[in-house]
Amino acid sequence: MERVVTVVPEDGLHARPAAKFVETAGEYEARVTVEPVDESRPAVAADSMLAVTGLGIKGGNSVKLVADGDDAEAVLDALEAVLTETVDESQ
């Protein structure tokens, strides 16, 4: 199962969103990989903070998530929520 998501937070998949993304990916059984859509780079494990931050995904970039396992759909939903969460503008 796969899904393409456009990253909303301005800073991209970095620091806090990245930590949340990785943590979420680790909470499910399904194995998930993530890869940038706009440039050809190999897919990396979504539960690795090193790998995920290493992609250098910025806000507005699209990523392809591929999940394999019983709860694949659930994990994709959860990860999409993390990637599209808007950062509070009042801060």
């Binding site: 800073d11 970095h14 620091a15 250098g56």
Partner: protein, 571 residues
């Protein structure tokens, strides 16, 4: 002429003190001399144990930073936690220990590649290399069983010099004892700078390699306004900077520009926090949390033990309060929920933020604890230092609860009288922190001497957004129109019933909001010691008529954006 070094001022304050060079853990040389290991399984287990300890440490520092600085900085520790749990690191460590090296070196090897990779990237990504070094050094220190350099226990008047301070380092700094901070690297927006600023520690960052020419033990001025370090200042320069620093502290009580007195008080978590608050110019204590007496122990505190603690705090403030009609407000135990107590065996689910905590526990399951605490408080109130004492109840949301609490106080007084023990019923008040207490503020104000608005919980309950949930971060804003209206409703109720009203909670300590709060009708503001001097200054600069006008404008706002625009706060 004294030597002067230039950097970037990170906190607009100055301090004079003695240099202590803080060597970060990473500067310790590699373990090349260590014996090779012959048991990979043991080494890997050592790594796993160290990693668990590291995760616990990181979580503690995250919570501490969240409390003292804010969520944004606390999130750095979230990233550190995920790096610690990274499967790539784990498998690299495994490969390394299997090749026969000890866990310390395996960790070093496992991090070497990623650090190099991130360092080569630009901007924000390069900062991740610093995070990785911080995480690596933490693991190595734990593996070695080395004590971490205790930055929280440096002698008073220390100026910490370092190459670079990590978030973990800076989170340990105690603003009471540290006279200043200076670093070779880092900018105004580095984590260390942000944390130092929110702790009010004078700081100059990014001084460059020249900083290394200053040796430990030298006297320096850290001028966070000018962004300079003066090495070996002459007596006159020291005097000038000391005068600047002490001028910021106002020990006398303050009034607004048009002579309306406002009490600026300190929030205390333990009696040990009283002297720093006095030093910062606190007129009294707006919130003395008594939970410390009940936590981390196997049995509840005795009446005498509590008497000692309350007496000590009151005596620290006796002179201050006598001179300026200040108060020492002691809150009865607000336990339950997120503050577990071993000897009470509370069910965390039933005692969460919406459960049996605060006054509810005091009136139901644990009347014994409540009575003991009241006995101690009423006895202290009758002592030579007890004139200023006031007692308030947490998490009250019905008139019945308040009436029961007051009744309990009266019965305790009767019992003490019957025993021939000297005691007195002090001023009584209620924390306003639930929507119920806001709506009933009129009824409450009729029955007590004062109300105190606890903004942190008020925000959580008014907006139904749990304080400790990351996803609810954006709701934790006391400038939410609903919260501002709740505050206004409370102050109006107090005024109509001749009760006075104060505020304890983060909002009270923000000098940029002082005018608004005075305009909303608060006559007492209580905060952590570090912000007292600035808030006192803000009080002196306020005119109550203009403040009232500002409050009315803000209360008319229906959205956050309008509120912020009215207050001219940038996003």
């Amino acid at each position: 002429m004294a030597k002067q070094l230039t950097g970037v001022g990170a906190t607009p304050r100055s301090g004079v003190g003695t240099v202590i060079w803080y060597e970060r853990e990473s500067t310790v040389s590699a373990d090349t001399a260590q014996e090779p290991s012959d048991d990979p399984a043991v080494e890997f287990e050592r790594f796993e144990t160290a990693r668990n300890t590291a995760i616990e440490e990181v979580e503690t520092e995250r919570d501490r930073t969240r409390e003292r600085v804010g969520d944004e900085e606390a999130n750095v520790f979230e990233a550190h936690k995920q790096f610690l749990k990274d499967p790539q690191i784990e498998s690299a460590v495994k490969t390394a220990v299997e090749s026969g090296v000890v866990a310390e070196n395996a960790v070093r090897e496992a991090f070497a590649g990623p650090i190099k990779q991130f360092s080569a990237m630009d901007g924000m990504m390069a900062e991740r290399a610093d995070d990785l070094r911080d995480v690596r050094d933490r693991l190595i220190r734990i593996l070695r069983g080395a004590e971490r350099t205790d930055l929280s226990a440096l002698p008073d008047g220390s100026v910490v010099f370092a190459d670079l301070l990590t978030p973990s380092d800076t989170a340990q700094l105690s603003p009471e004892s540290i006279a200043g901070v200076a670093t070779v690297k880092g900018g105004r927006t580095s984590h260390a700078a942000i944390i130092a600023r929110s702790l009010g520690i004078p700081a100059v960052v990014g001084v460059g390699d020249d900083l290394r020419t200053v040796t430990e033990g030298e006297t320096v001025v850290v001028d966070g306004n000018g962004g300079t370090i003066i090495v070996g200042p002459d007596r006159e320069a020291i005097k000038q900077y000391e005068a600047e620093t002490t001028a910021a502290v106002t020990n006398s009580s303050v009034t607004t520009a048009n002579s309306v007195p406002i009490e600026v008080a300190g929030n205390l978590g333990t009696p040990a926090e009283a002297p720093p608050a006095v030093k910062a110019g606190a007129d009294g204590v707006g919130l003395f949390r008594t939970e410390f007496l009940f936590l981390d122990r196997d049995a509840p505190p005795t009446e005498d033990e509590q008497f000692e603690a309350y007496y000590e705090v009151c005596s620290q403030f006796a002179d201050r309060c006598a001179n300026n009609d200040g108060h020492v407000i002691i809150r009865t135990a607000d336990i339950g929920g997120d503050k577990p107590i071993p000897y009470l065996s509370l069910d965390p689910e039933e005692n969460g933020f919406l459960g049996a905590r605060g006054i509810r526990l005091s009136l139901e399951e644990h009347t014994d604890l409540f009575e003991t605490q009241l006995r101690a408080l009423l006895r202290v109130a009758a002592t030579d230092v007890g004139d200023s004492i006031a007692v308030m109840f947490p998490l009250v949301s019905t008139v019945e609860e308040l009436a029961a609490a007051i009744d309990r106080v009266e019965r305790v007084q009767t019992a003490l009288d019957a025993e021939g023990v000297t005691a007195r019923v002090p001023e009584l008040g209620v924390m306003i922190e639930t929507p119920g207490s806001v709506f009933l503020a009129n009824a409450f104000a009729k029955r007590v001497d004062f109300l105190s608005i606890g903004t942190n919980d008020l925000v959580q309950y008014v907006l139904a957004a749990q304080r400790d949930l990351d996803r609810m971060d954006s709701y934790q804003d006391p400038l939410a129109p609903a919260v501002l209206r709740a505050i206004d409703h409370t102050t109006t109720a107090a005024e109509n019933n001749d009760a006075w009203v104060g505020m304890c909670g983060e909002m009270a300590g923000d000098p940029t909001l002082t005018e608004l709060l005075i305009g909303l009708g608060l006559s007492e503001l209580s905060m952590s010691a570090v912000t007292i001097p600035e808030v006192k200054q803000a009080v002196k600069d306020t005119d109550t008529a203009a403040a009232r006008e500002l409050a009315e404008t803000v209360l008319a706002c229906e959205t956050h954006t309008e509120v912020r625009a009215a207050l001219e706060i940038e996003k």
